[in-house]
Symmetry: C2
Subunit: 405 residues, 2 copies
């Protein structure tokens, strides 16, 4: 995520680096379906037509780019050849979460081509068993893609925990009960022929990026994504890039202190956001204590109570919105953010939580976060898989030279 370096340990620049950079630059200026011509690219990048010509011919070799007929009919002069990213190339996205598995394929145009979401009870289940079930889902998706002629370049797997992407290890996923789970072998087998491999990521981070690329984030640019799953997680997107922090934990808004006199949190601290806005906390405050059924069922019951106008349910959700506002204000001040996107159960509760959240923001930091900078995710259970797949797509687009001899 970051390329900071003392300076002395930086890699030396070689002449060939220039070409790598320019390949990515040209590729970046070929939008999904912009139908840019070589001449357009030369104008927009500042490269000469000669250089663009040579760069484009290499990009065509990689298969990432395709020539798509002529452009500009009716005007004077020779028409240019339209160039576009090849929609028949894509990446796999997958998510393991506490109560479902999800897989899908996103193509270079950003379209979700195939996907499947399967309910599952993964809490406390062995990584091997979960991965085996995931592999079956992935297999179906991969063959569907192959049948449609879509070639997969790479992939991403999002999990609700802290990961080490370089080693392919889930360091800890409390809600799954995983610790130091080495998935590197399994990742390598998911899409064996993909040149860029399958990379692990954090679920909240991936969902935050999905929002950037395929949701509300594009308009916002920099924002805090808050994911209300079993815990309250989050991801930080700044300047259209994910900010993971020095140790990869950044965006963990669930353990911001919002109530100094509040109750003990599972993290060992006190008054954390999660203790007042986590699923369990909201359900308890709403009086929905039917412990036997699943969390999903109880959330549905909450929804029903809200729609019926149940006062206790409404005040429970409003309380969560109030405290969410405090956490968002702290984030806005510390990191200079001015927008939020809410996902997971917060998105489902949008109607009831939004007014309370806005009131809280106005009260604690008038002007810091405008009301039109509070968005609710519409990506549902496909958010993390789209983000993971999207990240794989970006990796490929950033390193087209890896596909050349």
């Amino acid at each position: 995520m970051r390329e900071h370096d003392g300076g002395a340990t930086m890699a030396p620049g070689r002449v060939g680096d220039v070409r790598r950079r320019n390949l990515a630059l040209v590729l970046g200026s070929i939008g999904p379906e912009s139908l840019a011509t070589r001449a357009d690219i030369a104008a927009s990048t500042g490269l000469t037509k000669a250089s663009v010509s040579s760069l484009v011919s290499e990009l065509l070799e990689t298969g990432l780019v395709a020539e798509v007929g002529l452009t500009r009919a009716g005007e004077r002069g020779r028409p240019g050849v339209g160039l576009a990213l090849d929609a028949q190339r894509g990446a796999l996205g997958a998510e393991v979460n506490v109560d479902y598995l999800a897989v899908g394929v996103v193509d270079l145009h950003g379209a979700l081509r195939f996907h499947e979401v399967a309910e599952a009870v993964n809490r406390g289940r062995e990584p091997e068993a979960v991965v085996a079930e995931l592999s079956r889902l992935v297999g179906r998706c991969v063959s569907a893609a192959a049948d449609a002629g879509v070639t997969l370049l790479g992939g991403g797997l999002a999990v609700p925990g802290l990961v080490d992407p370089s080693r392919g290890v889930v360091l800890s996923a409390p809600n799954l009960g995983w610790r130091d789970a080495d998935l590197s072998a399994a990742l390598a087998e998911l899409v064996p022929e993909a040149p860029f491999g399958v990379v692990l990521s954090n679920e909240a981070d991936s969902a935050a990026l999905a929002e950037l690329w395929y949701g509300h984030g594009a308009a916002l640019g920099s924002y805090l994504y808050v994911s209300g799953e079993v815990g309250v997680g989050g991801g930080l997107v700044m300047g259209s890039e994910l900010f993971a922090g020095p140790g990869g934990h950044a965006g963990e808004v669930g353990h911001v202190v919002v109530e100094p006199t509040g109750s003990q949190c599972s993290c060992g601290g006190r008054g954390c956001l999660e203790t007042v806005a986590g699923q369990e906390a909201i359900l308890a405050a709403a009086g929905i204590t039917n412990g036997g059924s699943t969390t999903a069922a109880r959330m549905a019951a909450l929804q029903a109570a809200l729609e019926a106008g149940d006062a206790q349910a409404i005040s429970a959700v409003e309380r969560a919105g109030h405290y969410l506002g405090i956490a968002v204000v702290s984030a806005a001040r510390l990191i200079d953010l001015s927008a939020v996107v809410l996902g997971g159960h917060f998105a489902a509760l949008a109607t009831w939580i939004r007014p309370a959240l806005l009131a809280s923001l106005r009260s604690f930091a008038p002007g810091a976060v405008a009301s039109d900078a509070v968005a609710f995710s519409e990506l549902g259970t496909t958010a993390a898989l789209r983000g993971a797949a999207g990240a794989a797509v970006r990796r490929a687009l950033a390193a087209p030279y890896a596909l050349l001899g």
Copy 2:
């Protein structure tokens, strides 16, 4: 500070960029007095001896680097020629604060060669008048440097407010009463012959960087710097770089919400850290309400009361430490930081505030911030000027090619 870009608006890479990068790379591996030889540099950077030779000869031309005798006497083989940054080159640093002006010169070895701090009452004073007084101080410092044979490459001016460095404008400095003050002309005249010019910066950001380069920060790498001046400001250093945020406000820890039921803040919000840990808040809680004297005098009175064991004073400072801990925890969680450096009045109160802060950290986030990751600044009133000068030095070292034909 950031070089993010959509991709399409990036500048094209040219062959010459490689040399620029490698010039900076080689320069970066010539430590202050490391006495590296060309061969050492080749080994540490990965460049060939031939390239290093050519790059070094250009760096010698810029004057940033000097050959300093031979190295490695007593061993076999031809001894190498030692290379070091020329300590006779430096940069000007200056600070305008509410109650003082400070200027100084930092050389390429990081030493503070000359400096002067003058008390002043700048609150509400016109920018022109303040700058005129500052210019006199700078003039003395510049001639002292010239007399000692030190050449100035650039400079930095830190102010307690939000700045636009590219235009040389102080957008707003509430504690000075400045708004949209255009200092660009004045900045250009401060050190007319300096090739890199004089650049505006925020006081807290500069102090945070001074801590990184010349204080506790080097050992920490990533940390939150909290500056207790008239207000409570801060700067965020991550991966040995300042993080300014999308709009340049990042690190503003003074307006993190630490007491949801707390009192109104001047920012329009409620329960901000500044309302319980700002100078005025601490003095009021300590019962030091002698409004006639200066803030500095009242802070001295507070110090005396603390040393005398005054219970009200002690509990006022402990309260500030408690709330400071809450803000630090929120920052630690959101941005994944694990260290803090405290400056300004917090540094002066270190003895009394430290235990309360540590207790608060333990209570709200055990393990997030270790007790040896809480440091107190020792740079005093030279912090911001050293940071501003240091930033100017880095700018020069990052762009040595600007000094060539």
